[in-house]
């Protein structure tokens, strides 16, 4: 009897479409990666994205601090990601901050040549596994001039991501544009809340305080993750199936 019930349950699951839920992978740098509690409030947006996923959706955040499109491959991280992929999975890709570092050869990837080629390889590899790549332009640093004007600092990298997405017909989430607008709207003072800018003693991990204009706070990372979800829904991207409804 028990066995019969088990078979019936399996059949019901199959007929009702109980297929394995997709996994979301993240490939990126320190603005995307997970941080341990002692680094709070520093938060990567990939870490915050988990808060917007439906129960049962797995998020594998392979992003790591200090990585570029180049070092992510040479260290074997990309291979690990591709080897794990299954059909129907999604891969968010966001690099640029470290690709910019001309004086660090193991990281540097020129925007219009190596960086673009690396992105194209990532897209091809993901598609070969019948998974879906989604490109993200890199989130902005928080730089203001002395007269309070916002200063972009990512050079041509965001534009190359946009061009690559168009050429390869890959979904794009423009986080450079989003974060630049976010900072411009907030201004030099209020925009601090989005970054890891903390007073001495405010957080146990920073007894002397810190003023980090690159790495986001919990609020900043969550705001970006929310934008990823919102934009995916607005563009009707299939990855939206993984996300909960937000206002």
């Amino acid at each position: 009897m028990k066995r019969l019930l088990l078979i019936a349950a399996c059949a019901a699951t199959f007929l009702l479409g109980g297929a394995e839920l997709p996994t979301i992978y993240l490939a990126g740098d320190s603005t995307v990666c997970d941080y341990p509690a002692e680094r709070a409030p520093m938060t990567g947006w990939g870490q915050a994205l988990k808060d917007f996923c439906k129960p049962g959706v797995t998020v594998v955040n392979l992003a790591a601090g200090g990585r570029s499109t180049k070092s992510f491959q040479t260290e074997g991280r990309w291979k690990k990601l591709v080897d794990s992929l299954k059909s129907g999975d999604y891969v968010f890709i966001q690099f640029g901050h470290n690709d910019q570092k001309k004086n660090v050869p193991k990281l540097y990837a020129a925007a219009d040549t190596d960086y673009r080629a690396n992105l194209e390889k990532f897209i091809a590899d993901v598609r070969a596994k019948k998974a879906t790549p989604i490109l993200c332009t890199p989130v902005s640093r928080r730089h203001f001039s002395s007269n309070g004007e916002f200063r972009p600092s990512l050079g041509r990298y965001p534009e190359v991501v946009r061009k690559t997405a168009r050429a390869q017909h890959v979904a794009l989430i423009d986080l450079t544009d989003f974060t630049e607008k976010l900072f411009r709207a907030a201004g030099p003072e209020d925009s601090q809340k989005y970054l890891t800018i903390v007073a001495p003693g405010e957080y146990p991990g920073y007894p002397k305080g810190t003023k980090d204009n690159t790495h986001y706070s919990r609020l900043g990372a969550t705001t970006i993750a929310r934008e990823v979800v919102r934009s995916a829904r607005e563009q009707r991207l299939p990855v939206s199936e993984c996300f909960v409804n937000i206002k």
Partner: protein
């Protein structure tokens, strides 16, 4: 006093004043079946009889009651993290705080962190979680106060001590305002006179500080009425509650007044007395400290003409023909309930502590700027120092 069966500061919230036993059992039934975690004081829950109330309600609703009572008088981060881990492990259908401000504050913080998944440190500040996830629906703690002072059952606040830095840190989070609180004045009868005095003074300071916060008048249309009613009830009933703990009418009035005080500071935050005494935990009872600091802070506030007018609205309760006389009258009331006249009479409050308090005040920019008469950050040390020295020496009149 004829209190309504429940009061509410916002839709979806209830502070039940009648038939609390039935309300609690009903709430457990609604949330259950499952486990109920009760956070309580170490001994006060037995002394006041509150644990019996919980057991009865849990039994009636068919819920399993799990009790945690290792909460210090000034709860520390590690304790809240332990409580948080317990909630995560037991996955209760309801979390109840039965105790004074410490128990309620710790439970509110633990319940928040258990659901957010964040380290506790990330919640210190203003609306840290709800600003990130405004659409979230978190389970709230059911609060049953056993003192009449903190008003925590009606506020978005939780004060937790960080022993490493020797400071009390504040969580102000709209998602932790209890949706259900039960006022059971009988549970406060066992409070000794000293606790009654200190907690009652805290409630009075909440109501007055909120009432004087003229800059926040627009936050809730009824908040000043709540404040006036709270002050009236406390001035009338605190002396009786101190003199006779089993004076049921006085206890009932104090219970109601303290909750009103909490409702007031939810919308009209406290000012300089709370700022100045934030790091005095363990040295002087919080309620006594804020009440003692209030006259000197109040005199400073009089530099704002709106506070002068507001002060005179209190003359029926603290008789006086001038604002200074009203403040002096308030100090006379404190004398009448046994609050020390000067900080120099309080052994825990040293001159060094006062100097450090004046220096560190600048770190709380928000409270300085939002004071009824704002304190320029650059001048905060001088102004706070003057207030603290006045309070150290006592009322000049």
């Amino acid at each position: 006093m004829d209190a309504p069966s429940f009061i509410a500061a916002a839709p979806g919230e209830r502070i039940v004043t009648r038939s609390p036993r039935e309300a609690l059992a009903e709430e457990f039934r609604r949330r259950g079946p499952g486990r109920v975690i009760a956070f309580t004081g170490r001994r006060s829950a037995e002394l006041c009889g509150g644990i019996g109330l919980l057991e009865e309600a849990a039994e009636r609703a068919g819920c399993e009651l799990i009790r945690f009572s290792r909460i210090e008088p000034e709860p520390v981060v590690a304790t809240v993290e332990t409580m948080c881990a317990l909630i995560r492990e037991k996955k209760p259908c309801a979390v109840v705080a039965l105790g004074g401000g410490s128990v309620m504050d710790a439970a509110k913080a633990a319940c928040l962190a258990a659901q957010s998944g964040w380290p506790l440190a990330e919640h210190f500040g203003v609306n840290r979680y709800s600003d990130c996830h405004p659409e979230a629906r978190l389970d709230r703690v059911i609060c049953i106060p056993t003192t009449s002072g903190t008003g925590s059952e009606a506020t978005p606040y939780s004060n937790i001590v960080d022993p490493a830095q020797k400071v009390k840190k504040l969580i102000a989070e709209r998602f932790i305002v209890p949706e259900l609180a039960l006022l059971v004045p009988e549970l406060t009868h066992s409070m000794p006179p000293a606790v009654t005095r200190a907690t009652g003074c805290d409630a009075l300071a909440h109501a007055i500080e909120g009432f004087l916060n003229v800059g926040a008048d627009g936050n809730h249309p009824a908040a000043n009425e709540w404040a006036l009613e709270s002050i009236r009830l406390i001035t009338e009933h605190l002396p009786r509650a101190i003199a006779a703990g089993d004076d049921a009418a006085a206890r009932r009035a104090m219970s109601f007044a303290a909750t009103l005080g909490g409702m007031v500071i939810r919308f009209k935050s406290t000012g300089l007395p709370h700022l100045a005494s934030f790091s005095w935990f363990g040295r002087l009872e919080h309620g006594i400290a804020v009440a003692m600091l209030l006259p000197a802070c109040w005199r400073y506030y009089l530099g704002n003409p709106a506070v002068v007018a507001r002060t005179m609205q209190l003359s029926p309760l603290f008789p006086g023909n001038t604002p200074e006389e009203v403040i002096a009258s308030f100090r006379h009331f404190l004398d009448s309930v046994g609050v020390p006249a000067a900080l120099r009479d309080c052994p825990g409050i040293t001159q060094e502590l006062l100097e450090e308090t004046a220096r560190s005040g600048a770190q709380n920019k928000m409270k300085l700027e939002n004071a009824p008469r704002p304190v320029p950050v650059a001048e905060s040390e001088r102004i706070l120092s003057a207030i603290l020295q006045q309070t150290r020496e006592g009322d000049p009149q």
